[in-house]
């Protein structure tokens, strides 16, 4: 076997292991499936009853934002499980085997992608139940889900990097919460960001979460002509800028996570 096929085969072996682990860990499954359900219901019924967006139902406006939020939370599984594994001896076992070293991270991110797919399916179903609809062409809708999953995969490498730098589940969870909450809430995911006061509005407009949310709304057709057209550059070109973000995340964090993994396990 050459290096490439070895990496693919080993990555798949590791991904299968991680998928089994997810299936057997109620806490991980819970966050992957229960979170989205709770969020859809809570935002749709609690916030939905007081927030209004011009020209469309709040629920239709909301669901793409919830998709992005679920991706951000789901991708944290990668970092979190890596910190758990670092505390056990399993990486010693892997490193004593003739496998491709990169297969550990490739396998982990791929299995988390599979989990994110499952979570998006559950959420889309929940969305349909509460009144969300796709108003674009099927092709665009597929692109919308594809974009979300690419983002999920790229973001997994980011959380892997953070986890391998911090190395303990506690510190990872603290940082993850501290970073992801402002990211999710200072954005257009739950409300119309153009109505925020100036400094928050600028932060929200340049926040990648807003870019991905805007891109998802466009691709699912959940936009309304009655709403002000955002004039910030990333929001006017949401789909290409999203792709750019994905490319940047992958180019920076795939090598960085790989380097940090080597350092973390060879101590």
């Amino acid at each position: 076997m050459n290096a490439f096929t070895t990496t693919v085969a080993d990555g798949w072996t590791i991904a299968r292991r991680d998928a089994l682990k997810i299936r057997r860990s109620p806490d991980l499954l819970g966050s992957a499936v229960m979170f989205p359900i709770v969020f859809v219901l809570m935002f749709a019924y609690v916030f939905g009853s007081v927030i209004e967006v011009p020209g469309m139902s709040y629920r239709e406006f909301l669901i793409p934002g919830i998709f992005v939020q679920a991706v951000i939370i789901g991708a944290q599984t990668t970092g979190y499980t890596l910190t758990l594994d670092l505390g056990k001896g399993i990486f010693d076992r892997f490193r004593s085997l003739p496998m491709a070293p990169s297969a550990v991270l490739v396998g982990q991110t791929v299995s988390d992608l599979l989990m994110n797919i499952a979570s998006l399916v559950v959420m889309a179903a929940m969305g349909l139940v509460v009144g969300w609809r796709v108003h674009s062409s099927p092709g665009e809708a597929v692109l919308g889900f594809g974009l979300l999953l690419l983002f999920a995969y790229a973001f997994s490498w980011f959380t892997a990097t953070v986890a391998l730098a911090l190395r303990t589940p506690e510190s990872f969870n603290n940082i993850a919460t501290m970073v992801s909450f402002p990211l999710m809430f200072i954005s257009n995911a739950y409300l119309d960001a153009s109505r925020l006061p100036a400094p928050l509005r600028v932060a929200a407009e340049w926040n990648p979460v807003s870019t991905f949310t805007q891109a998802a709304r466009e691709l699912f057709g959940n936009t309304s002509s009655a709403m002000a057209v955002p004039d910030a550059w990333p929001l006017r070109h949401a789909v290409p800028v999203s792709l750019l973000w994905i490319a940047v995340l992958l180019t920076v964090f795939v090598p960085l996570a790989t380097r940090l993994y080597k350092r973390a396990v060879s101590a």
Binding site: M1, R93, R95
Partner: protein
């Protein structure tokens, strides 16, 4: 026969601590070397360096003909490792763990599965094969980890304290397995806390302390190095221990070992039978009631005590207790 493992001047530092301080040795193909040494001697570090888990700061080593630094990938195809702490996945079943290891050795799906079942049988884990390892006992984890080292039938095996935490039956079974493997031509480096384990399994023993080799040889050579016989006396009353020690000091040619729990005193002597006669005479003069007395060859425990200045971490007695 050629050497399966060679190590030269291995140095590994962790900050202030020098875990390996110029360790060197070789293990001929098809033989068993036991690394023996107190806690913190550097045994685990030596195993980790030789299995490519950590890079040495200085020195060179080859395993199965592969350099540990330059040829790490090829080396890993030829070794099996069971570390001091079980490296298994809690959420996977015993069978899934072994199957995964087989696939990562690139045995293919079908052979990995067959091999997993075979090893589960061999390590008496067939009944627990399909339960997540999370629910295994300490000894069962140890065994599944050992099985992991054997999945690919590698020519060179590294087992770091393989029998620590095993019950007597599992320990005896592992000894048999190891003997079979070695009879089949495998080379083994093991570390152990137990003198009689080294005595039983190893062709050669390397006594390590402070990251250096302080003695090397076959069990018999090491015993000869320490020399002479031992007079071992068991008194019947703890109150008489001190008097007995003083009486026995007359015949001792080295440090006495006292085991207060078992009321036993062991003294190295030069002339065996004569010394025993004299010892018994002196004890009788003091009016000490002797429950048991005898002459014995030095054990590895004696070797260890003489060489490192402290008792072995797991004494002979405990070890034998455990095997019984």
């Amino acid at each position: 026969m050629s050497d399966a493992i060679t190590a030269e001047g291995l140095v590994k530092r962790y900050g202030e601590v020098t875990a390996l301080d110029g360790l060197g040795f070789s293990v001929p193909q098809g033989s068993v070397l036991a690394l023996l040494g107190p806690n913190g001697a550097g045994k685990t570090t030596a195993v980790r360096v030789l299995t490519t888990l950590v890079a040495p700061d200085a020195g060179r080593a080859t395993v199965a003909g592969c350099d540990i630094v330059r040829d790490a990938r090829r080396l890993r195809e030829r070794i099996g490792l069971s570390g001091q702490y079980a490296a298994v996945d809690e959420h996977l079943t015993g069978a899934e763990n072994l199957e995964m290891v087989g696939r990562l050795y690139h045995l293919g799906a079908r052979r990995s599965r067959a091999r997993a079942r075979e090893l589960l049988e061999r390590f008496d884990l067939a009944g627990a094969a399909d339960r997540p390892v999370k629910g295994y006992s300490g000894g069962m984890r140890r065994r599944i980890d050992l099985a992991g080292a054997l999945v690919a039938d590698p020519p060179v095996l590294f087992l770091d304290e393989p029998t620590t935490g095993l019950d007597p039956r599992a320990r005896a079974a592992l000894w048999d397995t190891i003997s079979e493997l070695v009879a089949g031509g495998s080379t083994l480096l093991l570390t152990t806390q137990y003198m009689d384990e080294a005595d039983h399994l190893a062709d050669r023993i390397l006594v390590v302390d402070h990251g250096r080799a302080i003695a090397h040889g076959t069990p018999d050579e090491l015993k000869d190095q320490v020399g002479g016989n031992r007079v071992a006396v068991t008194v019947s009353d703890a109150a008489e221990m001190e008097t007995a020690r003083q009486a026995l000091a007359w015949v001792a040619v080295g440090a006495m070992q006292t085991a207060p729990e078992s009321l036993r005193i062991t003294v190295p002597v030069t002339d065996g039978p004569g010394a025993l006669r004299e010892a018994l005479g002196r004890l009788a003069d003091e009016g000490i009631r002797v429950r048991d007395a005898g002459l014995r060859r030095p054990t590895l425990d004696d070797v260890y005590l003489t060489l490192t200045g402290h008792r072995a971490p797991g004494t002979d007695e405990q070890a034998r207790e455990a095997v019984r």
